[in-house]
Subunit: 265 residues, 2 copies
């Protein structure tokens, strides 16, 4: 096993690429001495950006990719057609074993489609979830799934719970992450058909620390480390989080501004 | 038609009953001169509470009900057994045409079950939704359904949209309330099976002002007046609202407290 972790980074993906991507890569290289990065993107542009920084040159390689997959492109189509894009080339580095992971702030749909078409799923895993870390008052929690499987089956939710648990063990070092399923009440008989069918399967799982149902009101208070739900519900959770926080903070800001204005008058 | 609106009020329902209920009833009687109230509950207790206030006595009647349905009781059972409860008697007043509406802060499940068993549904309506008004930065919006139908059918969501639209017209006076369905994106092809099937039905509805999909992040910003979803999703929306707001406001309070303490030291 290599003493290094090798990560392919999509230099061209995201709103502020490549500037912010290169900046973040340099920060990461300086913070983690076991990190090696392959920056995938237009060679000249990446070189030009990199030249702005002092960084450990031996741990960086540039992999030229001339095409860029845009946010609005139909994902599967884009992956099939743009063979020389940073996403396709980055994922190929993972498939070929040259990198351990691929990081991209580009089109979520293209990364998900490319992950399945190029890298492939782990044997036995039915679907790939999208699983962001969300902030809670007791540290980050993993919301799994939040966008990939709109009409999930119970067996898929069980796999999400297992994958999420392994992920959190490795990312946070917590040996026993608490896994909960999003539900409308704490009682086992509550829920829609999907949750009612999934609950006993999770309970019977001996490789996760299943603590039962979690109501949406308890998510931000950190009642669970791995929060399992179908993609539709996960999307609603993520976007309610964003919406309520933004509306409240704007409201508070407006209130402060108007009281400041009043006290000036 | 009577010049009065007759409302049955459950004097015994809710955490702070009967005190807060009677107080609110007196406030309402003073604010609305066309309001007549039948207070349903234990006569002695209700009389004792009422005696604390000055109020228009001619517009209040007490209807004795000796039993109380507790929050934890199985709803259908409670409705069937406790014939002399404030919820059963209040709903009977509506059924018999003696009151136009029933207001209760008691067991949601019992009120919903009682509504169906005693009052009955409007002819043609398949299911009764729970529909709270939620605050947004542009005034209240109706979230329908948020607890009654866990696995809703498209035809039921269409009826919720129609009932919600009529409700908002009458409550807010807005002649053309904007109706939207909760979805994971703005595009018509997005969503889970339920939303994809419901979307064209709503679009074809000529008695509502259907504006398409609403993402959860836009709910608190008041993008729609009637927000249609199944009960599971509605429950998640309502409880995320509560949870994010509470966590954020506690976080802000803690930050202010700790900065105050620091500046004192």
């Amino acid at each position: 096993m290599s003493e290094y972790v090798n990560v392919a980074v999509d230099a061209m993906g995201g709103d502020n690429a490549p500037g912010e991507i290169i900046k973040g890569t340099v920060d990461a290289l300086n913070a983690y001495r076991q990190l090696r990065v392959m920056l995938v993107g237009r060679e000249e542009i990446v070189k030009e950006e990199l030249a702005k920084y002092t960084y450990p040159e031996k741990r960086v390689r540039i992999v030229n990719a001339t095409e860029i997959i845009e946010m609005a492109e139909p994902p599967v189509n884009a992956i099939r057609k743009k063979k020389d894009s940073s996403i396709v080339k980055g994922l190929q580095l993972v498939k070929e074993g040259k990198c351990d992971a691929f990081v991209s702030a580009g089109s979520t749909g293209a990364i998900l489609a490319g992950g399945q078409l190029i890298v492939g799923r782990i044997r036995g895993i039915e679907r790939s979830p999208l699983a962001p870390l969300i902030p809670t008052s007791k540290g980050p929690a993993l919301l799994i799934d939040c966008g990939a499987n709109m009409d999930a089956r119970p067996s898929q939710l069980v796999q999400f719970a297992q994958m999420g648990s392994i992920y959190m063990k490795n990312i946070t070092g917590n040996p026993n992450p608490r896994v909960a399923i999003v539900n409308v009440g704490a009682e086992e008989e509550k829920g829609n058909a999907l949750v009612k069918e999934t609950f006993p399967l999770l309970k019977a799982c001996d490789n996760i620390n299943f603590i039962g149902s979690i109501e949406a009101r308890d998510i931000t208070d950190g009642y669970a480390d791995v929060i399992v739900c179908d993609a539709f519900v996960g999307n609603v959770i993520l976007k309610m989080f964003e919406g309520v926080a933004s509306t409240l903070l704007h409201g508070i800001k407006d209130a402060i501004m108007s009281s400041t204005l009043q006290s000036r008058n």
